[in-house]
Symmetry: C2
Subunit: 204 residues, 2 copies
């Protein structure tokens, strides 16, 4: 059950710990204030005051006020699940492995489960956040395509773009369904339902 990525030291230095603490403090402060007053009524100044940090520092951590609400960090695709996928696993069956990867995106969020839940809650009320989230995905599409390309090689029947787009679609659709269910249930089950319905529509 331990979470020990290979190339990171088990115990972090003071500097790194402080950085993470600050990041989380900023996200929490944002969630607190936005949950109470709404996204547009909360200024970055207010968030920084709440978190006890200068405005300039805020923007060292997040590109955007919205990013803080969503807890966005630069996406790390070098996760164990990502590597397994690129290497041709876990089953060797493309569609199943895409599903496994999508599940890993949803169940091991870099932000932590409760914070993710808070972010989802806010996004449901503030459409702008959903848009920003999509934009963030878009920003990392290149990385994602590269990952898929490693898996496919350049000789397969499918284009990395198309496969990557399908992966994003599955992830997003599952996310929505999960959210609609109030965050209950396992990601696997929702994803299965999505795939089933997608197949049904296509072969209708």
């Amino acid at each position: 059950m331990q979470n020990t990525p290979v190339d990171q030291p088990e115990v972090l230095g003071l500097r790194e710990r402080k950085k993470r603490a600050r990041r989380e403090a900023l996200i929490d402060a944002t969630h607190r204030l936005v949950g109470e007053h709404g996204l547009d009524a909360v200024t970055v100044d207010a968030i920084c005051e709440e978190a006890g940090v200068s405005v300039r520092t805020f923007f060292n951590y997040f590109e955007t006020k919205d990013d803080a609400a969503l807890g966005h960090a630069p996406w790390q695709l070098e996760t164990p699940a990502g590597e397994v996928f690129a290497a041709g696993g876990p089953t060797g069956h493309l569609m199943l492995d895409l599903q496994a990867l999508a599940v890993s995106f949803l169940t091991d969020p870099p932000i932590g489960r409760e914070r993710l839940a808070r972010a989802m809650e806010l996004a449901a009320k503030e459409p702008r956040l959903v848009a920003r989230h999509l934009a963030w995905f878009e920003q990392h599409k290149g990385q994602l395509f590269a990952l898929v390309e490693r898996r496919l090689g350049q000789d397969g029947p499918h284009t990395p773009e198309m496969v990557g787009s399908v992966l994003l679609f599955l992830t997003h659709a599952t996310f929505l369904r999960w959210d609609a269910a109030g965050g209950h249930g396992a990601a696997d089950d929702h994803l299965s339902a999505v795939v089933t319905e997608l197949r049904s529509i296509l072969s209708d």
Copy 2:
């Protein structure tokens, strides 16, 4: 070959004509300047000067500088194609009709073909624009779902959300493929290729 929506008079008043002319002038001015200097180097002030219009007026036409570059107008889903789809046509076969609708989105853009091509060109160089475009789609998702819901009724096997999402996926994927082909070829053909590959991936 004539384009005569039902509830609009054949000849427009001076007011309406001026409005459209201004909108197009603003889009063209934006395209000209952004194409030359890049999106971030062009201020709204500059665009307005180029178009001979006050800044305040600019924001009466567009929510955002980026919207002007993309030529975004509030989406009218009450198109002939939309109505046909909602009514169960044109073939009565869901998947085929989704494709027909997607094609109509791509071939009858509210903005006009050349302007759309210009916008695509800019979007390829400025990732922000793609993101904004997605956000704009997201804003109109509700309308789109409503349209799909009219078609499906509430008793069908599929959820409007899922069908709507598939529609967006098809449209977007086709758009990308079209763009990658340099804007050449018919939308139909690219869409068919997308559907074929999607089926192939899913049943792989």
